[in-house]
Amino acid sequence: MIISVIRTIILYVLILFAVRMMGKRQISEMQTSELVITLLMSNIATIPMQDTEQSMLSGIVPIMILLVCEILISYLMLKRSGIRKLVCGKPVIVINNGIIEQKAMKELRLSTEDLFSQLRQKDIFDIAEVAYAVIETNGTLSVLKKSQDDNIKAKDLKIKTQPSELKVVVISDGEFADSSMRFCGLEKDKIKRILKKENTSLDEVFIMTADSSGAYQIIKKEGK
């Protein structure tokens, strides 16, 4: 049993490494081939975990080979659009200028229920609102609404707005987040001065967010 425990830990680290190497995409954003390879890797990893008679390398080698193939293919897909088309396919327009492309839907084996379900998930309940809808290579639906049904933006009304600033967490549960501090150009001393001005201490802070313009927000810990 102890062998299984050690092997599981080793394979866990290996799978973490492999997933980290494959990139940061979430399951819903994965291409079909990426999803299949991820499932395949986890399946292969279970064999030497459970069967201690099996050599562990016989599990590690296929996992590593799949990882290498995945990275090489994704690199080639970046460089050659032909390979990308071959591996991922291409996006398909299913609603073209408000008209459903029935032939494309048949080719995709996409039912009207599926199409309407995906539209509803995008808060579109009337197909008349849609100008274009495209099934992306990972199976998700992208929609462009007709201009008269689209949300009004500030620029449509010619309203001047403040530039957007990204707020990041600089203190989390009483601890400094160094990389976020660097991102918004803050130093520990400066934050300590802000905390002093706000009559609080580092230990009392649950979350402090800040942006590069100098704006900040402090949320204290409960009961402090």
Binding site: S55, I65, V68
Partner: protein, 126 residues
């Protein structure tokens, strides 16, 4: 880009491991086959002492490389080969040549299968 280099390094490492495994299995299996063949022939010629020496050599070689070989193949296969060689030796020492021939032949067959299964041939791949 570091991902690509990382992947190529992993590929290099995996290929090295696989080639080392292949080389180790092939050389060990070939040597054991030679010793078992020599033992079989010596027993046929009535040179029992020489046959025992040869089978001892085969046993020693297998023992010395067993742990490294366990890294590459299933334990079951090597255990089966080891048991078969031990039985051959037992019958040879006890002068039961008929049983020795049977077990020595099956040892040879097992180790040849074991060696051949690693060759990247059309049949093995499929």
């Amino acid at each position: 880009m570091y991902r690509l280099y990382g992947a190529l390094s992993v590929l290099g490492a995996v290929l090295l491991i696989s080639l080392f495994g292949f080389y180790l299995n092939k050389t060990t299996s070939d040597s054991i086959i030679d010793h078992l063949d020599a033992s079989f022939e010596s027993a046929e010629e009535g040179k029992t002492d020489r046959a025992i020496d040869e089978i001892n050599e085969a046993q020693k070689l297998l023992h010395s490389r067993l742990e490294t070989m366990f890294l590459f193949v299933s334990h079951r296969k090597l255990d089966e080969i080891e048991q078969c060689i031990n039985k051959s030796k037992y019958y040879l020492i006890n002068n039961d040549l008929t049983s020795f021939y049977v077990y020595c032949s099956s040892s040879l067959e097992l180790i040849r299968d074991y060696r051949d299964m690693e060759y990247p041939t059309f049949y093995n791949i499929l």
